[in-house]
Subunit: 267 residues, 2 copies
C-alpha cells in the first residue's frame, strides 16, 4: 500500500491508566465514483489505489461487463470513468436487474442466488487440482506476512490469491473487503487471466454472500477465510460447487462445502 | 436473537490434526427488499428479525424519511413495504441524490460529508452529559455479555446503546454492522425517541464512514468501537463534533475526536 492509504491523526490514548496525546495511523477511506461514459454506476467507499482494478473488478463481478468489453479506464482522484470497447453496448436492464437502488454491504441488488445464475455463472469444475491440507494451513501466516498496512492501522482487510502449491500470486488490501476482492479480480480481468482456475483465495475477516458471489464470478473454486461464513455464503458455495473454508488458522479449519478439493494426512 | 437467526450446517472440522464430521452453527444472512409503496428502494443482506426496525432505520439514516413520516410497515419473509403518512410525498430527488446506483458496504451513494450536511444534520451539542472513563471502559464487556449469538456463530456484529451511566438501553445484532445500527436507530424512530441525546453507542468491529454517518443522523454524540476507525470516519466525526472512540477495551482506548465528553481520573 502507498503512503496515501494511511493518514496520521492526533488522538488521546489511554493505556493501563496512563493518558497521552499522540499521533495515530488510520486507514484512508474515500469515495470512488465508477461511471461508464457519462452514466454513474456506483459509488463505493474504498482505500485509494488500484482504482482502475477496482472499477474493472466491480463491473465484472456485478455482471455489468464481460471479459474484453472494457477499452479504457480513466481515473482521477475519486472517479473512474470506463470506456467500453467499440461496439459494446451497455445493457440498461443488466444494471437495473443487478442493482436497482441498492443498500449497503454485500448486496448491490443481487438479491439471490438466481441473480448469479442469470449472470451466466456455471458450477465450478470439480476436476481442479486439489489443495493439500498443509498448504491450506500455511495461508493465514502468509497472508499476514504479506500485509503491510494492517498492523499499522488495524483497519484494513486483505485478500490473497494463492496457487495450489501455496505461492502468493496477488495481494490486495482495502477498508472494504469486497473492494479488496474486486481489486484482485479486476487485476485478473485487465490481464485477461479469468477464470482464475486452480487458485485459492484467502480473505481476512468473515465470509458473506457477496464474497462468495464475487469469487464464483472470478472462477475461484476454493475460498478460505479467517472468520465465519454466513448462511447464504454457505448456500451459495454449495450451489456452485465451491469449496468454502472458514476459521482457517495454522492448526485448524472448518470446511463447509465441497471438501473433496482438500486432501491431507488426516483425510 | 431468535432461533431463525442461526442455521445448522454439516462441516468437516480439523482441530490439531484431528478431522471430524460435525454440525456447525452459522449466522443467517438473507436479502430484505425495502419498498415505499410499489417503489423498490433498497435490498440489503441482513439477519432476519426486526425487519420493520431495519426498514425504518435505513430509510431514516439515509435521509429518505423524517421522523413521523411513516404510517405503517408491512413485513413478509424477505420484504418490508413502507406506507408513508397521509400527505407525505416521497421526493424522488432525495433518493437519487443519496443513492444513485450504489455499491456495497458503507456507501449508499452518500459520497461525502456534504451529503450528510444536505440531509439537514446539525453539529452534535457539546453540552451533553459527559461520559466517565470508567463507564466507557466497562462497555465492551457489557456488550459481549449481552450478545447471545456471537459466541455461537462467530459471524454476528452487535451494537449496544448505553446511557451515560453505562446501562444498556438497547441491543441489536446482524451479519451487517450497518444493519445492526439501522435496527437500533429504527427502533428509536418507531418509538419517537430521536434524537438519541445523552447516549453512547458501542459497536463491535471497526468504524467506517457509514457508521458515523448513521450515528450522526440518530443524534448520538459518543460512538465507541472495539476496532479501528477509517480516515473518513474520523473526518466526519470531527465535522459534526462527535466523540469517536476506537480500540476500546477494559483498560484502554483511543479518542480520535471531541475528547472533552470523556472525563476520568487520568484526565
Amino acid at each position: 500500500m502507498s503512503a496515501g492509504s494511511i493518514l496520521t491523526v492526533p488522538i488521546r490514548r489511554l493505556t493501563s491508566g496512563v493518558l497521552t496525546e499522540e499521533q495515530d495511523l488510520v486507514a484512508v477511506e474515500e469515495p470512488l465514483q465508477i461511471s461508464i461514459g457519462s452514466r454513474n454506476i456506483a459509488i463505493t467507499m474504498r482505500t485509494p489505489g488500484q482504482d482502475a482494478e477496482l472499477a474493472a473488478g466491480f463491473l465484472f463481478t456485478e455482471g455489468i461487463v464481460k471479459p474484453g468489453e472494457i477499452e479504457n479506464i480513466s481515473c482521477t482522484r475519486n472517479t473512474a470513468v470506463v470506456t467500453l470497447a467499440h461496439g459494446v453496448e451497455l445493457d440498461p436492464t443488466r444494471i437495473e436487474r443487478n442493482f436497482y437502488v441498492s443498500s449497503s454491504c454485500g448486496v448491490c441488488g443481487k438479491a439471490s442466488i438466481e441473480a448469479i445464475e442469470s449472470a451466466g455463472c456455471a458450477t465450478l469444475p470439480v476436476d481442479e487440482p486439489p489443495v493439500s491440507e498443509a498448504v491450506l494451513l500455511s495461508l493465514p501466516a502468509k497472508l499476514r506476512e504479506a500485509q503491510r498496512v494492517f498492523d499499522r492501522t488495524g483497519g484494513i482487510h486483505a485478500c490473497g490469491l494463492f496457487s495450489s502449491s501455496g505461492e502468493l500470486v496477488l495481494l490486495r488490501e482495502d477498508v472494504g473487503r469486497h473492494n479488496a476482492v474486486d481489486k484482485l479480480i479486476g487485476r485478473a480481468y485487465l490481464d485477461n487471466l479469468l477464470p482464475l482456475s486452480g487458485k485459492v483465495l484467502m480473505v481476512s475477516g468473515r465470509t458473506s454472500f457477496e464474497l462468495v458471489q464475487k469469487s464464483v464470478m472470478g472462477g475461484i473454486a476454493v475460498l478460505a477465510s479467517v472468520g465465519a461464513p454466513s448462511s447464504l455464503a454457505v448456500k451459495t458455495a454449495l450451489r456452485f460447487g465451491m469449496t468454502l473454508v472458514g476459521f482457517l488458522n495454522k492448526d485448524r479449519y472448518n470446511i463447509y462445502t465441497a471438501p473433496s478439493r482438500v486432501i491431507g494426512e488426516a483425510v
